[in-house]
Amino acid sequence: MLELKGQKEILVRFQSLLALLLMVVIFSICAEGFFTKDNFWLVLRQVSVNTCLSVGMTLVILTGGIDLSVGSILALSGAIMAGLLKNGLEFPAFNLFIGFTLLGAVIAGLIVGASLGFFNGLMITRFRIPPFVATLAMLTIARGLTELWTGGAAITGLGKTFGYLGTGWFLGIPVQVWTCAAIVAIVVVVLRKTRFGRYVYAVGGNERAAKLSGLNVNRIKLLVYTMAGALSAVGGLIVTSKLNSATPTAGDGYELDSIAAVVIGGTSLSGGKGSVFGTILGALIIGVLNSGLIILQVPPFWQKVIKGFVILLAVAIDKLNTKEQ
């Protein structure tokens, strides 16, 4: 009896992995050109941005929150990096000009991303604004700021070195995949091996119990939203360098793909339950699905319909399994 239960638990635990493998097998058989080395790297490069955002989203959702502003923060931080790198900062009033090195521009972009995330957290903890509303507002604010900063036009011609971050290869692996892997590794260690990580689960699982156990719930939430903002900025870095330009519409709608990845990965939207591992599988499932459908030449409108049903299917299976337990 116990063994049976154990087997079932393992099955439930690895159901996303099984789903992913199943999809890979099916596409490999049906779609010519899917199971190739080139396509392998293509899929990984395509999911790396979503993975960055989704890892941050996982942290937020684990605390029982949501972050709708990741796509807009991505755009603004990318634009800040591009703008600073290309034009620097000019203060005509003080007759002052600050030029930025590549590193300086990237760091500035990351700081902007983290600050906007921090602002989200502040609204949610200090002013008790529900995460959905606070980050919905930030979605518009950051998008508007992006348009202001770019003047509504793309910032292009950012140089080869910057482009290397998005298109280059290092030791036979795309640079952006390295970046993404590093982020995943760091967040996994933080979640599993630090007090903060444990507290993230506790806050999402039972905020009241967490508070009564002496946890500073507000500080934990603040940190989580800040991290989500910083990770969106990393996404912004990858997107901008890949295109070698920052567009005001970059990252539009990315929040939905990242929520989808988290949900498909089995993280509970009510918080306290889930993993980064699951989210990566979720992001890969979406990536493989996109790639396979494109190769099969499924019309783009149908792709969206299918993707929607995959999300429903994933969550429905998850719910059925948890109900039985």
Binding site: G197, A209, A210, L212, S213, G214
Partner: protein
Amino acid sequence: MAQSKTNNIVLQAKSISKAFGGIKALDGVNLEVYKGRVNAIVGENGAGKSTLMKVLTGIHQQYDGQIILDEHKVTFANPKEAQKNGIAIIHQELNLIPYLSVAENVFLGREFVNRLGLIDYKKMYVETKRLLERLDLHINPRTQVSNLRIGQQQIVEIAHALSLDARIVIMDEPTSAISEHEIKVLFDLIRSLKAQGVAIVYITHKLDELFQIADSVSVLRDGKLVGSISVEDVTHDDIVRMMVGRDIKDFFVKADVTKSKEVFSVKDMCLAHPRRHGDYVVDHVSFTVKAGEVLGLFGLMGAGRTELLETIFGLHPKRSSGRIILNGREIKVNFPIDAINLGIGFITEDRKLEGLVLQMSVAASISLASLEQTERFGFLSSTLETRLAQNYVKRLRIKTSSLQQVVENLSGGNQQKVIIAKWLATNPRILLLDEPTRGIDVNAKNEIYRLISELTQAGLAIVMVSSELPEIMAIADRIIVLSEGKQTAEFTRSQATEELIMKAAIPKSFVLQHSSKV
């Protein structure tokens, strides 16, 4: 005479028994409810009053025994069926939807519709007005419920009950949240309902009210009916005696403390009422606890026991005042973490809502409040965590398949032990226990008592809230009684009797002073 009396019985419960996971909440209870009379029910917390009401109103469908309505046996598949049969209940927490109008609430789910299938508001307002006038409440049926006072909302609930043609109206502690004037209005209303032939079942803690409004009183204790008598035939003290009077022999009795020094004291602790200005939930409470001592806090529902512990633990820093002295030094507690760092632990009443993160493993639950102990070079060490958890699992004899078992799957008693372990891991000097044995079986209870005794022998000071008299009398060295936020008595274990404690705990409502005039 006898003939007419039986004819007046509208509802009869015959040997009703109901158990929850091996614990008997009701044990062969008989109850007769008479038409046109106020049938009061009294009993301590956990005596079985609310379970009995849930059986009568179809909330619990599984039970032993019979319900007889108008001389016919009935079974209710759900609360709606009980309603259809004329039984309505008005809960202590009112069940109105605050942002709908009075009329919309009264006819919720049974709205009048016109030929087009749209709601016929005109008719609804007229009908509601008619009902409210019958209850002497003159308000516009269009008023949004959230704008009414609690007492008025209660009357709206009664109107709802009457609109269902309720012949039996159950009221659960109706006076607990309303003002003096509103109580008068309510009592007048109850008298007029009586005159209209409605049977009232009236649950209360305030014995003084019984002599004002009730015709008969049934006393429940530990799930059994102690007796039903006419109010004219009893005194206040008789009822108290019926409510208590249990055998204390079976109880584990804590060893007496040898004289030791005071470690913890609270002076003039107050907690302001969150909404009612100038009113206190905890009203100037002071006490001291010695090392190795258990101080018992007794009080009925709403006495402010939990709130007192919460205030000490730093959960209401903005509404509280008073001084806390630990080892001779005054301390400031603004957050739970301050209390924890000073060596105070708080085991809350509700395990699932406040004590545990249910999805967490046993190990993670035990280490949650002292996670820094399991850190090595800034990272959590599973070796250290396992060692910590293993130690407490052994010491407290927590029954779990493994340290990785999710706490949700443990029994109530073992969940409680996990919570105690969590606090012991913080190395506390003072433990605040709120109803530490609520909802757990007898064996687990005894284990908890033994544990409390062991902890005090090791020098811990314990403040324990309990609403079970035998428990508090066996475990506590001294007992403080709270009533309506105020400290009304203090006893040593040898002084305390159940009757004395209960007398001090029963709220002295205004009714007593007015009763002679009515």
